[in-house]
């Protein structure tokens, strides 16, 4: 990224911009004053750079006052889902051109004959073979012939493509053949983009590696145009940085070279925000939950760090193997549509009414009943908070559900609330209890537009005793982007039994892997990068690995013990069999200057005055509504009540008590809270 100028004032602003499908969120942090500004403006999916600039204009920050800008974007996911990537080709080993067509030859559900396989990112006519073969033990069975490659490249060039992916058999073991192909492409067609599997995804399993490489090249032309367009419009080279799926700041160059690392860029921001909040308030263990219009995302921060997983499915059958914050997503959000199936049961989602037409209560022509409509009927959202909501329309929508079950509108709304809460609680349990993590040691950090209406009940349901509601929960992902560290990671397959690795061999491997990271990625950091090392390990005969954090100097016995402990924690068995080292990973992380948010004095004598009252039908009767902007540090109050802010409402149930901390976070303890 751009070297930071230290002259204050001039570029004292740190900016996070999170472009989602519906809204573009922006948060501006002024390092000179500590002031924070935010805005939410409509996204412009056809030309996202317009929405980006509009967001900047909305907060009125001149470009030359910006020191750091971090951008999260859904561009990669969207262009892959919509198959709007570049015209690209694949080069693979003789005999394997159909790797993208065959996929893993499976289906999501048995018995469904009408189901159709997903469409590959590169059509069959654009997949080519070259003569070469490396065997599983590394033997070169057929050497590569540059003349043969040149002939293939010329045929591809004639098709008028924008880029070529290269994924050869067993290239995770030996990248020399792929390097030959890359060199031939660069020589004969220097104008083309190239993605090479041994550089993008150096891991075993030919379909997953090829598809990751293909996803990268497929998204590259549009992402590069976008990165270039933003840089040109902003006018300051290197100013715009990108948030990767693993929660690190990347330069525009890195993002354009490895667009596949941006797949979960937006949600990663929220988890980073949670990590920042934990650090700020001295909490090491947090569960972040992001509930927006269509989905509910759960992540766990344990002892100050979050887990990284290495496979992400953009859609069913289209996997991408790239480091991604371990986030569990279910299709439950405020806009999730409530429906009755042909067995007469209540179902919630995964279809969403989105923002347009949105829930029935938005009054934009939507008639489907949504979670938000039920929440409005219950009184968990005030009808005149952000913009006027149509209570009658919500009651009519929920009423259709009520009629089906022969219950009152209120009872139906409660039922909807319970069903969606149970689904979200299951997702939280899967990320905690079911991985051997005791949620009683954690705090819940809810954000997103709909998170506040459910968080307290979820916490009670899964046994989390404390909730910390950040400032600005509806733009929290953008806030997290401001707090992101610089991060670059690399991985390489080892695939040897642990017993066959000599002393010092793992340390030497990590030193080599670390050496491949360009130091210029950390310009602007406050310190040299620190490194996190991990090994993907399994029992020799298993197929799937567990990622274990290691010290490069550990002995084989120490590595084995760490692996077997984690295996036991996850699956309840410890086999004592030989261990295989599959992949080694390093993440280099360097911090940006700290955000100077200062603590305010918490005073006991603050008066807490309700702005007005409302009725939470069937749950709590008449309750006060507090305006969050009037609640100073130290303010205390008890549930049941609602706390409103610009674009969201937080529900504090009966038995819970609330306090505003020194950073103006709302801290709620749920002991004895009654789950609705």
């Amino acid at each position: 990224m751009r070297a930071r100028s230290v002259t204050a004032k001039q570029n004292s602003k740190r900016v996070g911009i999170d472009i989602g499908g519906t809204f573009t969120d922006i948060v501006v942090f002024d390092e000179a004053t500590g002031a924070v500004t935010r805005s939410k403006t409509p996204s412009t999916p056809e030309a996202p750079e317009e929405g980006f600039l509009a967001a900047l204009a909305a907060v009125g920050v001149p470009i030359d006052e910006i020191g750091t800008l971090v951008h999260g974007t859904t561009i990669v996911t969207n262009l892959i889902l919509e198959r709007k990537g570049g015209r690209t080709a694949l080069i693979t080993t003789r005999g394997f051109r159909d790797v993208l067509e065959i996929m893993r030859a499976t289906r999501p559900l048995p018995y469904d004959l009408a189901w159709r396989k997903p469409v590959p990112l590169i059509p069959r006519e654009f997949c080519f073979e070259v003569d070469e073969r490396i065997m599983a033990d590394g033997t070169i069975e057929t050497a590569i012939d540059p003349a043969n490659v040149a002939e293939v490249v010329d045929r591809i060039v004639a098709l008028g493509v924008e880029g070529i992916a290269v994924s050869l058999m067993h290239a995770y073991l030996d990248d020399r053949h792929e390097k030959v192909v890359e060199a031939v492409i660069r020589e004969r067609a220097p104008h083309l983009a190239v993605s090479v599997s041994s550089q993008i995804c150096r891991e075993i399993r030919e379909y997953e590696r090829a598809n990751t490489t293909v996803a990268n090249i497929y998204s590259m032309p549009r992402v590069r145009r976008y990165v270039d367009a933003l840089a040109a419009r902003v006018g300051v080279p290197g100013l715009v940085n990108y948030l990767s799926s693993e929660g690190g700041i990347q330069t525009g160059t890195e993002a354009a070279d490895r667009p596949v690392t941006l797949c979960v860029s937006g949600p990663a921001g929220g988890v980073l925000g949670g990590a920042f909040l934990g650090e700020q308030t001295g909490r090491r263990n947090l569960v972040t939950v992001d509930m927006g219009g269509t989905s509910f995302d759960v992540a766990v921060i344990r002892d100050g760090r979050f887990d990284i997983k290495n496979t992400f499915e953009i859609e069913w059958g289209i996997p991408v193997k790239t480091p991604t914050i371990d986030i569990k997503t279910i299709g439950a959000g405020g806009g999730s549509i409530v429906w009755i199936d042909n067995g007469g049961a209540l179902r919630v989602g995964p279809q969403s009414a989105g923002a347009d037409p949105g829930p029935a209560c938005y009054g934009r022509g939507g008639t489907d009943c949504t979670v938000t409509d039920a929440n409005l009927v219950l009184g968990l959202i005030h009808p005149n908070a952000t913009f006027p909501l149509d209570v009658a329309a919500a009651e009519a929508a929920v009423g259709r559900i009520a009629d089906h079950f022969g219950v009152s509108v209120r009872e139906a709304a409660e039922g909807i609330y319970r069903v969606v809460n149970a689904a979200m609680a299951t997702a939280i349990r899967q990320m905690t209890v079911e991985k051997g993590i005791d949620p009683r040691d954690f705090a819940l950090v809810p954000f997103g537009g709909a998170g506040g209406q459910h968080a307290a009940v979820l916490a009670a349901e899964v046994g989390i005793p404390e909730i910390v509601v950040p400032n600005m929960p509806s733009v929290f992902s953008a806030f997290g982007m401001v707090s992101a560290p610089l991060k670059v990671s690399r991985a390489r397959t080892i695939l040897k039994p642990l017993a066959m690795l000599g002393p010092g061999e793992i340390a030497a491997f990590f030193a080599d892997l670390t050496g491949g990271i360009d130091a210029s990625a950390f310009d602007g950091a406050t310190s040299a990068p620190r490194h996190e090392f991990s090994l993907d390990l399994r029992y020799v005969k298993q197929a799937h690995e567990i990622s274990v954090l290691v010290d490069p100097d550990w002995t084989a016995a120490e590595i084995t013990e760490a692996f077997e402990d984690k295996h036991f924690l996850l699956y309840g068995t410890r086999h004592g069999h030989a261990v295989m080292v599959v992949t080694g990973r390093v993440a280099a992380i360097a911090d940006m200057p700290p955000l100077p948010i200062s603590a305010e004095e918490e005073r006991d004598d603050r008066t807490v005055v309700a702005a007005r009252t409302t009725t939470i039908a069937g749950i709590a009767g008449e309750v006060p509504i507090y305006d969050r902007t009037t609640l100073g540090p130290g303010a205390r109050f008890a549930g049941p009540c609602l706390v409103e802010e610009v674009d969201t409402t937080f529900y504090v149930p009966e038995g819970a008590s609330a306090r505003v901390d020194a950073f103006r976070n709302l801290v709620i303890t749920t002991d004895g809270a009654s789950a609705a």
Binding site: D98, A345, L346, R418, Q542, Y571
Partner: protein, 530 residues
């Protein structure tokens, strides 16, 4: 009638489903054989205390439906289970075939028995005459593998070492089998703990009531969707094309009477049982029929006893779909698990053309090989089965390269495969031209070319190598399956090269190093005149 409100019923149903999904994950992530961990050749389900299925995972249809038989036997044999008990069996006449090992754990919440968590999965080797199974010409069930009678594997939490040792002493891959067995045991343990957390939140009675409600829910959806299929009698016939040792062909005849309450399936007229393992037991044939019924009515309904209760199947004794001891049935999951459901769908091809369609490759094309791995000096044993082309439907073209629609198996990555076995895969591609032409073309099958890096002994048990997948409404048939050998540059159909009675059923052929085994899988039939 359930005493639970409809919202709690839904919450419990969702929890039961996510529990079966976690069982799948646990099994895949910890298993030892690529058959389990890459191929997903196993299935999981939850049952109530009486042995009625409550919820099933994704998986293999014939596995799941067959558990209906195994669980009734378990409930009868062990009427007073204790916490920590785990039962095991692979008796083929109780479920499918010996390679599919059933592991069942009674689940207890707060001391009360609430049901069973069950995992059934295909072990790569269970002993028997052919390494990796698939002896196409065995003539007695004991030749196909060790039979584990219904036994306790854990007795109130303690491993029964005698049971374990007896099993592992009779298989070729004791470590693989043990790792797979442990993955099955872990999956059932995970399920029990998930159901315990459900009980902790809602109470034991609610869990038991919720399980019963899940069955009634599926029944209600099934009966509702059933209305869209016209009542009537539907008939079809298909064939097992040979038995590997004689010239006989084996018709499978079905007469389906569809009414407002379900399906009556009459297999009278089906061929007598064959001497070789192309047969199915009644239990596994019925399981295969369940898959067809679900596909016809609504594939999105959670499958359980609520659907099974509405299906009645009538078969005379000792036919090819009701074989009895000691007739071998090893091929039931490979062939009959596809042939029976396809025959039923074929009967409806003109009535529900968008959910039935033309014929599929409809064979596992199962092959098993053994060889001394030159790298390790040890015996390598592999087993594999293959995707092919799906038949086209009125709604669209058939999928290329997919496993049969009654299962969610996955292919095993070639890179993983080559690490494990002395085989170099020269080619893994779509088989062009194999899908039948039509207004909608049938899906293409695939071609696998295995160059053998060591001398091999090969056994095979396939079908539909002679009778092509049919087209519908004027669509053309797909190409049938074919196995060949390229030796010294000359490619010959395998049965011809070895002078076999059948192109697809044999035992322990010797293939010298450097042979190329070519597996071409069939294409789906086309729909509509091209």
């Amino acid at each position: 009638m359930s005493t639970l409100d409809p919202f709690t019923q839904q919450i419990i149903r969702n929890h039961l489903f996510s529990t079966t999904d976690e069982m799948i994950q646990t099994t895949v992530l910890t298993a030892y054989s690529p058959t389990f961990s890459e191929g997903f050749d196993f299935s999981c389900a939850l049952f109530d205390t009486t042995g009625r299925m409550v919820m099933q995972s994704r998986g293999v249809g014939v596995h799941l439906g067959s558990l209906v038989g195994a669980m009734l036997a378990i409930v009868a044999r062990f009427p007073a289970p204790r916490p920590g008990d785990v039962f095991i069996t692979n008796n083929p006449y109780l479920a499918t075939h010996q390679s599919d090992v059933v592991v069942a754990r009674p689940m207890f919440c707060e001391g009360s028995h609430v049901g069973y968590a069950v995992n059934i999965g295909h072990w790569t080797d269970v002993g028997g005459m052919a390494a990796g199974g698939c002896a196409g010409t065995s003539t007695h069930v004991v030749q196909d593998g060790l039979i584990i009678p219904l036994s306790r594997l854990y007795d109130a939490g303690t491993l029964v070492e005698g049971t374990r040792d007896f099993i592992l002493a009779n298989v070729r891959l004791p470590e693989d089998d043990w790792g797979d067995l442990m993955s099955q045991v872990s999956a059932t343990a995970i399920a029990e703990s998930r159901i315990q957390s459900l009980a902790a939140r809602y109470g034991v009675p609610a869990v038991i009531d919720g399980m019963a409600a899940a069955i009634e829910y599926s029944r209600a959806r099934f009966l509702a969707a059933l209305k869209e299929i016209p009542d009537g009698v539907y008939e079809a016939v298909d064939y097992i094309e040979d038995d590997g040792i004689s010239d006989a062909t084996y018709p499978i005849k079905v007469k389906v009477t569809k009414s407002a309450t379900g399906f009556h399936l009459d297999f009278t007229g089906t061929a007598p049982q064959a001497p070789t393992p192309v047969n199915a037991t009644f239990i596994s044939a019925r399981a295969s029929a369940y898959a067809a019924v679900v596909a016809l009515v609504d594939p999105t309904i959670p499958v359980n006893a609520g659907i099974f209760d509405q299906v009645e199947m009538v078969v005379p004794p000792r036919t090819i779909v009701s074989a009895e001891w000691p007739t071998p049935v090893y091929g039931c999951t490979f062939e009959m698990a596809k042939r029976v459901p396809e025959t039923i769908l074929k009967a409806f091809a003109n009535t529900i053309p968008e959910r039935t369609g033309a014929g599929c490759h409809a064979s596992g094309n199962n092959l098993a090989g053994r060889a001394i791995d030159p790298k390790t000096g040890e015996e390598a044993v592999w087993y594999n089965y293959y995707e092919g082309g799906q038949g086209a439907t009125a709604a669209g073209i058939g999928n290329d390269a997919v496993y049969f629609w009654g299962e969610t198996s996955m292919n095993q990555p070639i890179e993983v495969w080559e690490h494990k076995y002395p085989v170099l895969v020269d080619r893994y591609a779509l088989r062009d031209g194999s899908g039948g032409a039509g207004q909608h073309r049938g899906g293409h099958g695939t071609v696998h070319e295995y160059r053998l890096l060591a001398d091999h002994h090969l056994s095979g048990l396939g079908d539909r190598h002679r009778v092509a997948p049919w087209g519908v409404e004027g669509g053309e048939p797909g190409l049938p399956n074919r196995w060949s050998i390229r030796r010294n540059g000359v490619t010959t159909e395998l049965g011809t090269l070895y002078g076999l009675k059948s192109p697809s059923k044999f035992y322990d052929l010797h293939l010298p190093k450097d042979d190329v085994l070519i597996i071409e899988t069939g294409g789906g039939g086309g729909y509509g005149t091209p």
